[in-house]
Symmetry: C2
Subunit: 341 residues, 2 copies
């Protein structure tokens, strides 16, 4: 089965060819990820002095900042790619555009114990991780210099300096990332044309067609996107339209917690704990900044993308942005749906 | 040194942070690529019966198709992601867009002997590889169904089923790949504004500033792009404006051969034979298809991109399209310039 599909959310085209499906499993079987073992883990409770000072933490009452007694802890990344003490200055260099390295790069430690998989934590702990995402995004969006706050998780990717202790990262930037801009533009064009939300329409169509729905809860639906960029990719979409992830309320957060745990457990079971990337997609920050982006951001629909990363991008994907995926989303959805956890 | 730079060719933003530079080398030192050893190589001279029939070859006179006696040989990829015998049909599925899996996916074997590195081949052989690229692109562009012909090379990437015998790939598609579209749009916008070519202006600015020029020849210039997406990325640009790679003439091809050999030798020497992606960027195919793309393609400027691939994309890059590069292009250019081959 060969087909080229267009991703409605970004405009990318993806080639599907299920004939190559066995090859990826053969490849994947031999190459399970390895995370460097670190003797003393600075993310563990008790080692707070090994990290920068916390910017936020959920702690038991009576405990002190940067001491034990927390269950979620957030601090600046030691190897931060951007820094809060730089001045924000956008300027040209000849015909080029540059922005100083102003921004915030934080680590969100998801558990005080040395556990590695988010989906193995208790329900309340995962809910608080998601709640910490929400609180931290809201807090940082008070700074009008920060146009976007990205929350992402690199699990098992074996990139340089990665820690195995379960954690996510936050990067707040004076710039809206390219993929978010693409999604904003596609949502805007769709809304202008139809006066309906692109994501809401996808949810309605997928609910009717059923073949790419992995599971759903009261508030959330999990689908294999029609033009998934990677094998077994999952999108978690809230059924109720909202452009801001950080506006979820406690019942929605509970529901999302179940959803994230189930999705990650299915993935871990089906593919033997594969490396993956999880990214929260929310609308940009427009506090005190009316203008073009603020008029179109209501057409956006927040969601979470989980992309297994079974192999490195090929030269084709890297060089041209034309993606290849050997697993059809309908097959991926069927297998994930049938994976008993 | 921290800075966020905008890539003028695609509009992507890239974060540079040289503080993390040592980490990547430490990471890279431990993780040299491995290509699967294949006992009997079907790309070697004498094993022609192991591959599909050749679609083009440079052969000694008197030799037969699909027999020994060739020095460059092109045939359909056994694991082709697209196939020429599919009908081309573009259609909707509900709100989605689909194209049948029509296309051409070929292997260009760059040497009859079992050699692995393009830059180690003799000058005449490398020139003929580039000439074969040109001839094959021209031939395929006679088919109006094929909107774009991509030539790319995956060296040492260890993706599934990759062969170590030196080869490139060709993918001709009924669709213009996303990154090429981005470059076409950026070139068009720039030309509309300035009435000058974006790439020609970059060449002029880089020649004046000097700090990102790695080397140049009579007809070509090799630069570290201002917002390189990967460490030690190199762009080979022809000094004379032309949107079509396939229009190079024999003297230009000779000059390009020298350039490619020097660029790859410097890379191999400086980084101990790193995996890389090489991609030829040329204008789309518009035979018998006047319209929007045909009006703007003259603003494009063909070039070759060489991207070392020292690590997997992080979740940030994958999830948001916001890139991170620990090596400033000026430093990369200096090091590559000083690498004696």
């Amino acid at each position: 089965m060969k087909e080229i599909r267009k991703d409605p959310f970004t405009g990318h085209w993806v080639v599907f060819n299920s004939a190559l499906r066995d090859k990826i499993f053969e490849f994947w079987k031999d190459r399970h990820y390895e995370t460097p073992k670190i003797e003393k883990c600075s993310f563990c409770e008790g080692n707070e002095s090994e990290t920068p000072s916390e910017t936020m933490a959920y702690r038991h009452s009576g405990t002190q900042s940067n001491k034990p007694g927390w269950w979620i802890r957030i601090f600046e990344n030691k190897g931060a790619v951007l820094q809060p003490d730089e001045d924000l200055d956008r300027h040209p260099i000849g015909m080029y555009d540059v922005t100083t390295g102003f921004g915030i790069h934080e680590i969100i430690v998801e558990t005080p114990k040395h556990l590695t998989q988010l989906e193995e934590l208790p329900f309340g702990q995962v809910r608080d991780v998601l709640w910490a995402f929400k609180e931290r995004i809201s807090a940082l969006k008070k700074d009008p210099r920060l146009k976007y706050v990205t929350i992402f998780k690199n699990f098992g990717l074996g990139t340089f300096g990665s820690m195995e202790h379960s954690h996510s990262q936050l990067l707040a930037t004076p710039i809206i990332p390219r993929k978010i801009k693409d999604e904003l533009m596609q949502s805007k064009d769709y809304y202008q044309d139809k006066e309906r939300c692109l994501f809401c329409d996808v949810i309605k169509q997928e609910s009717r067609m059923k073949e790419r729905v992995i599971f759903e809860t009261d508030n959330m639906i999990v689908i294999s996107p029609f033009a998934a960029l990677s094998p077994y990719e999952m999108f978690i979409l809230p059924k109720k339209h909202n452009h801001l992830f950080e506006e979820i309320n406690p019942p929605e957060a509970n529901d999302l917690t179940d959803t994230v745990i189930i999705a990650l457990k299915k993935l871990a079971k089906l593919l033997s704990v594969p490396p993956y990337t999880l990214t929260v997609h929310t609308a940009p920050n427009l506090i005190n900044r009316p203008g073009y982006w603020s008029t179109i951001m209501f057409d956006f629909h927040w969601h979470i993308e989980i992309s297994p990363r079974l192999y490195r991008m090929s030269g084709l994907e890297w060089g041209t942005g034309f993606f290849f995926n050997p697993i059809l989303p309908e097959i991926a959805a069927e297998e994930l749906k049938n994976t008993v956890i």
